[in-house]
Amino acid sequence: MKFKDHFKEGLLTKNPVTVQLLGMCSTLAITTSLFNGLGMGLAVTVILICSNVLISALRKVIPSQIRIAAYIVIIAGFVTIVDLLLQAYLQALSESLGVFIPLIVVNCIILGRAEAFASKNGVLASALDGLCQGFGYTVALVIVCVIRELLGSGTFGGGILNGGEGIRIIPEGFPAMQMVMPVGGFLVLGFVIAGSQWLMRRLERRNKKKEAV
């Protein structure tokens, strides 16, 4: 498969969040500011690429009866490495993501890609797949983050821009606090998935029209 196809799959047609509905816990829990979303997305992408590469390299060595257990150990190893690195060098991120960093171990995206792709394909293809799927995950997270942050705290780029406070777009007192609370997570993700379903159907229809012409 070509890079372009992989990329399109990861970003839209097989996006891990909006289409495969994997890794929902972190998508809902930490998407309250751009900083969190980007950080989580990058952490997952790095772990996904590493675990895909290692699992793909070992795919002929791991007996198929115990493959799930083996995958989990490999993934947990990388998660621990990333967790410790974040604690050492990016303490702010590590504190704001909290227990959801170790919980990347049970993020179904990583185990799902290991089982569905890395266990059947070569090392390079698996690395590419990890990169594209991770990118799709990050994009979905960032979209949810931007909407929630704008509606909930009225800012953009919280945690990164403007000395960590973010650029204020809606004046203080007006934003709906609930959007950065659990309610907002469910509602915004619902609308984002609905939006992506609408977009995909539109693209499909346009493709069909092109074929008909």
């Binding site: 509905l21 994997l22 929902m24 816990c25 809902l28 829990a29 799930i68 257990a69 989990i72 150990v73 947990a76 190893g77 998660v79 621990t80 967790d83 410790l84 227990v99 170790p102 919980l103 171990v105 049970v106 993020n107 179904c108 185990l111 609930q178 609370m181 659990p182 309610v183 907002g184 997570g185 469910f186 509602l187 993700l189 619902g190 609308f191 998935i193 609905a194 939006g195 379903q197 609408w198 159907r201």
Partner: protein, 197 residues
């Protein structure tokens, strides 16, 4: 038992079920919450299986953590806990299959899914971070599971009804389910003002 300890215990119990509900407030275990909530009976089965495993895992991880602390290997927590949970799930599955076939039939299909349920690993990690003792850990695990069961059964019963109603094409399936869950979370927010102790 001392009064203060009893209060902490009851506080954990109530907050894990209601005001700090594992799914609707803390977002642990969303995958099974979305995946296994199309029918009330399967939702109940999943809830029971999760409660059982969460209580067991809390107990086991408490013990394992003591060993890790003694060896100064705390950084291995994540790896070791997930292995412990995976083996607990496996053992529970084998035990139920041999000795309680009726229960196995009811819970069997859900058990393998529980290994990757973040509620189980989540509760184990939270217990350690909060420094709960053995009893508090187990109560937190069991109560978290009960909260999970409550949320998933309520959600399944709403979903059965929602599936029959009309809704815009783009919202069919998961989007409308997520919005339903959002409204439930809004309702559960009401408990956060309730401080029993």
């Amino acid at each position: 038992m001392e009064g203060a300890y009893m209060q902490a215990l009851l506080g954990i119990l109530f907050s894990a079920v209601l005001s700090e509900n594992f799914i609707l407030v803390k977002f642990y275990g969303i995958c099974p919450f979305m995946g296994v909530s199309k029918k009330i009976d399967t939702a109940l089965g999943m809830g029971m299986a999760v409660t059982f495993v969460m209580a067991l895992a809390s107990a086991a991880c408490y013990g394992v953590n003591l060993v890790l602390e003694a060896l100064e290997l705390q950084y291995m927590q994540t790896v070791v806990f997930i292995l412990v949970i995976a083996s607990i799930v496996q053992v529970v599955e084998m035990f139920l299959k041999k000795s309680v076939p009726a229960l196995y039939k009811a819970l069997g299909v859900f058990l393998p899914l529980i290994t990757t349920n973040c509620a189980v690993l989540g509760v184990a990690l939270v217990n350690v971070q909060a420094g709960y003792d053995f009893l508090l850990s187990v109560v937190n695990g069991a109560a978290g599971g009960l909260g999970f069961t409550l949320a998933i059964v309520l959600f399944a019963s709403i979903r059965e009804r929602v599936d029959k109603s009309e809704c815009p094409q783009a919202f069919k399936g998961f989007p409308i389910a997520l919005i339903t869950a959002g409204l439930m979370a809004l309702a559960f927010m009401g408990f956060s003002g309730m401080k029993i102790f």
